[in-house]
């Protein structure tokens, strides 16, 4: 006890030194406790958000996979995770395991969709008007279509200026010619003579040219939607409805649907509204100012979609609202979008009341059937028609693009796109054979035809005969394929073997969307990976090992990984933070060790006579060492406790107010917009032990020096 008394007195008598060293120790402890508490909480919250939204606690995928499963993407981008041949069997085995609640089939793919094309939409309106004999509407719509054709031709001309038209591809030259035809007075004068033929020309030749800008690329998760919704707590439908049980269908992720599918200007206004509600102002916020500018210059996104009647209505409303006599919408809209903090709310409302009803607010509407294009495992372009039932989100993660970029597709459609011959797909091949009059299509040709979107595309790409298709198409790179596909219209699944085949396929595909599959049918077939939901309270690590053992025993050729590994780069994120924390602590503690060591060595030298005296009057060496240790421990205790206490207060404060997430990744990590960290006793203990170790370590050398002080040195300094 006397030693601690001496230690305390020593600390007190060297205030500056103690303050510096103690400050370092306290800061190190503070950082350690706060860091450990945050990471501990993060670990829990991240598990919650990742495993309750998509991954489940464990994931199983092929043991032969070339790449690692990375559900949220990874750095090197490899996605060859192999396939699981027979899900039904694997599910049966997995769900027989006592720890497993459910095994949910999954498969991640990227695909493209051509959003509803303005010409298609207008042609549909035209068809309706013609059918109803509404001459007036028909005239308005025709004028609008003609205006769009004019705009397209102007765009094409611009491209022509850049690229020499004479040397352009046949495709481009054909497009220019078609636009010229559709822009011709004669075409429109003759329209009434054969409206159907005229509309078919517009639909087949002109509409596709208006596409490129509307191409959406996105990632989707093929799964069993009903079982998925049941298994993942965070999943919820936002708009529309869930995919009906057993049916094919598609659900957009709400966030990405708003971001990528909604009309640009409308979306921007929505984002402005959110931001203003967050307390930002247009006067101060540069993002808001930039958006105002963009809206002003992009008025064409609106005028393009308005026919004469709509133009008139919008013009009148805007004139009235802006008290302007300006006639041109091209002038009125920029004036209208010149919003301020004062008028934003009214203009936002006016936009949705007056302008939006005339717009295609979403490139793909809920209820639409869209054509998803993708690539099979073998690399062929492929497509499927699927109905959009609604949008969904993951609760509390709905602001994160990371969690909000994955859409959902039923497993049957997914398998068709991915390129595995299902019973349905086989039937489609037979249909094609009949329709095209071809007696026999070789297996690979059929696949090229089905998944490759048809010989015509490949011929366009330069291959000579359908037999070459497989060879030519397999190494298609995405960009080339995308442009190929872009040359084809929406809802134009396969063309190659002729219009008849195409129509037959379309009908067949529409029929597919009405089918109801049994659970057996859904389960039977290929999936890429399986989310394993464990029962509550099961030890994850033990379960993983025992499930792996079971799968091995059944020779299923699967590997089981935990959600952290399966999630890819984001799973490593925690390790990155751990490393950063460890590095920071390492630096602080090394500095602390150096400083402490230094000051203790100084102290030893200063105290040589005192130590010598103690030795002379009978103190053993061990006591001198203990004295130094006591000093170190006192230091560690006093300042460590101070740091830990401060850390406790900081964590308590954050636990109260919440630590706000600042980007997509942190929303997922925090399992919501705010993290409410908690500190555990073990965090304090770890910090205590570590700080004591650091302190003791820095005392070793000075203590050794002190031990070597001889009693003689008590006298020497006297002279």
């Amino acid at each position: 006890m006397i030693l601690f008394r001496i230690a305390l007195r020593n600390l007190a008598s060297h205030k500056l030194k103690s303050f510096i060293v103690g400050g370092l120790l306290a800061f190190g402890t503070l950082l350690l406790v706060v860091g450990l508490a945050l990471l501990g909480t993060l670990d829990v919250s991240m598990e919650k958000s990742v495993s309750n939204s998509i991954t489940g606690q464990l994931q199983a995928y092929s043991a032969d996979a070339k790449d690692k499963l990375a559900i949220f993407g990874n750095m090197n981008g490899g996605t060859d995770i192999g396939t699981i041949g027979d899900f039904a069997r694997v599910r049966q085995v997995l769900e027989s395991h006592p720890d497993v609640q459910a095994a949910i089939p999954q498969g991640l793919e990227g695909g493209m969709v051509y959003g509803g094309n303005i010409i298609d939409t207008k042609l549909e309106a035209l068809r309706q008007a013609e059918k109803a004999g509404d001459k007036e509407t028909s005239a308005v719509v025709r004028a609008h279509v003609r205006r769009i054709v004019g705009l397209l031709a102007a765009d094409m001309a611009k491209i022509g200026e850049v690229t020499d038209l004479a040397n352009a591809s046949t495709e481009t030259r054909q497009a220019v010619a078609d636009l010229a035809t559709a822009g011709n007075d004669a075409f429109w004068q003759d329209f009434d003579r054969d409206p159907l033929a005229a509309m078919e020309f517009l639909e087949n030749k002109v509409a596709p040219l208006a596409l490129n800008a509307e191409m959406l690329f996105f990632r989707y998760l093929g799964t069993d939607p009903v079982r998925f919704a049941k298994a993942f707590e965070l999943f919820e439908i936002v708009d529309g409805q869930a995919i009906p049980p057993g049916q094919r269908g598609f659900l957009f992720n709400k966030l990405n649907y708003e971001d990528a599918v909604k009309h640009k200007i409308a979306r921007r206004l929505d984002k402005m509204k959110d931001r203003l509600e967050d307390g930002k102002t247009i006067a101060d916020d540069t993002d808001l100012q930039a958006w105002v500018k963009l809206n002003k210059v992009q008025y064409k996104e609106i005028t393009f979609q308005l026919d004469d009647r709509a133009t008139k209505q919008v013009r009148e409303s805007l004139q009235k609202h802006l008290s302007s006599t300006e006639v041109a919408l091209e002038k009125l809209l920029p004036l209208f979008f010149e919003v301020t903090d004062a008028n934003f709310a009214t203009r936002y409302k006016l936009f949705y009341d007056v302008v939006a009803p005339h717009l295609m607010l979403y490139a793909v509407k809920i209820g639409d059937t869209m054509t998803v294009k993708g690539f099979t495992a073998a690399g062929y372009p492929t497509s499927a028609n699927v109905k959009v039932y609604g949008t969904f989100r993951f609760k509390s993660l709905d602001k994160s693009a990371l969690a909000g970029s994955l859409h959902m597709m039923d497993l049957m459609t997914y398998r068709d796109l991915y390129g595995y011959l299902s019973a349905d797909k086989k039937a489609e091949i037979e249909l094609l054979q009949k329709a095209s009059g071809v007696k026999e299509i070789k297996r690979e040709d059929a696949e090229a035809e089905l998944f490759g979107g048809g010989g015509e595309e490949v011929v366009d790409a330069g291959a000579a005969t359908p037999t070459d298709v497989a060879v030519a198409a397999s190494p298609v790179d995405e960009a080339a394929a995308a442009t190929q596909v872009a040359a084809h219209g929406p809802s134009k699944p396969a063309g190659g073997l002729g219009e008849r085949a195409s129509n037959a396929t379309k009908l067949y595909r529409d029929e597919l969307n009405k089918r109801v599959y049994t659970q057996q049918q859904i389960d039977t077939g290929v999936v890429r990976n399986i989310a394993i939901i464990l029962k509550k309270g099961v030890n994850q690590r033990a379960a993983a090992a025992s499930i792996q053992a079971l799968l091995d025993k059944e020779k299923l050729g699967l590997q089981v990984v935990d959600w952290r590994t399966a999630s890819g780069a984001i799973g490593n994120f925690l390790w990155v933070i751990y490393s950063v924390l460890a590095a920071a602590l390492g630096v602080i503690f090394i500095v602390a060790i150096i400083v402490m060591n230094n000051s203790m060595v100084m102290a030893t030298l200063e105290r040589t006579r005192e130590i010598g005296t103690m030795r002379a009057i009978g103190a053993q060496k061990s006591l001198i060492v203990q004295m130094f240790m006591a000093e170190a421990v006192t230091m560690a205790l006093v300042f460590g406790a101070f740091g830990a206490g401060l850390a406790g207060i900081i964590i308590a404060v954050f636990n109260h107010i919440g630590l706000p997430a600042w980007n997509d990744v942190t929303i997922v990590l925090f399992a919501g917009p705010r993290l409410y960290p908690t500190v555990g006793l073990h965090h304090m203990l770890i910090a205590g032990v570590l700080v004591s170790l650091v302190t003791l370590f820095s005392t070793l050398y000075p203590a050794w020096l002190a031990m070597r002080v001889t009693p003689l040195q008590a006298m020497q300094d006297a002279e």
Binding site: R5, M614, A616, I617, G618, A619
Partner: protein, 239 residues
Amino acid sequence: MATGQPIVALTGVSKDYHLGKVVVPALRNVSLAIEPGEFTVIAGPSGSGKTTLLNLIGCVDVASRGQVLVDGQDTGTLTEKQLTRLRLEKLGFIFQSFNLVGVLDAYQNIEFPLLLQKTLGKQEREKRVRDLLERVGIAQYAHHRPGELSGGQRQRVAIARALVTQPRIVLADEPTANLDSHTGTAILDLMQELNRAGTTFLFSTHDPRVVSRAGRVVRLIDGEIADHDASAADRLAIQ
């Protein structure tokens, strides 16, 4: 006192210091016995080996040749740990520069050796310390730190610390050298008084006034004992 056996007995003790290749003989063939109750002064000019002799007796250094017996134990055969133990149990030290522990107050400095010994309970310790504080005349400064005390007061604390374990002998190397003559005289008075109460003292000095107070003088010149049991009058004559 009762044993009849000397507390310290040196026979043919020599001590050489090695400065590089040069051998400095600090003590040559010294034989000496200190009996219980003595008040002995080691006198001699600077460099004559007084400190060296006290260090050997104080078990903080070992002889190059010869035998040093402290309380009957041959210090040459003891380990460092045993020597330390011997210092703690049998010896008391008073230093020229007092050598108190700066962060402890007078009371705690005096109590310190008892805490090292770990033989007495808290109450006995307190009694003994209070008693000594009284005897050395600094009871009112018990809770002052050395920095707050004068040189004489500090040396009183040091004396109390040396006596607190009731050692067989108290060794003091020039205990008055850092004190003015008035204070030095007072300290000598105190030591003499304590000696009369039973404590054996052995101390060095080259101050003739101190020598005059000694019960016995051991005179060292160039590491050799020049004059054994000279009377006080002789001593003065030598000076």
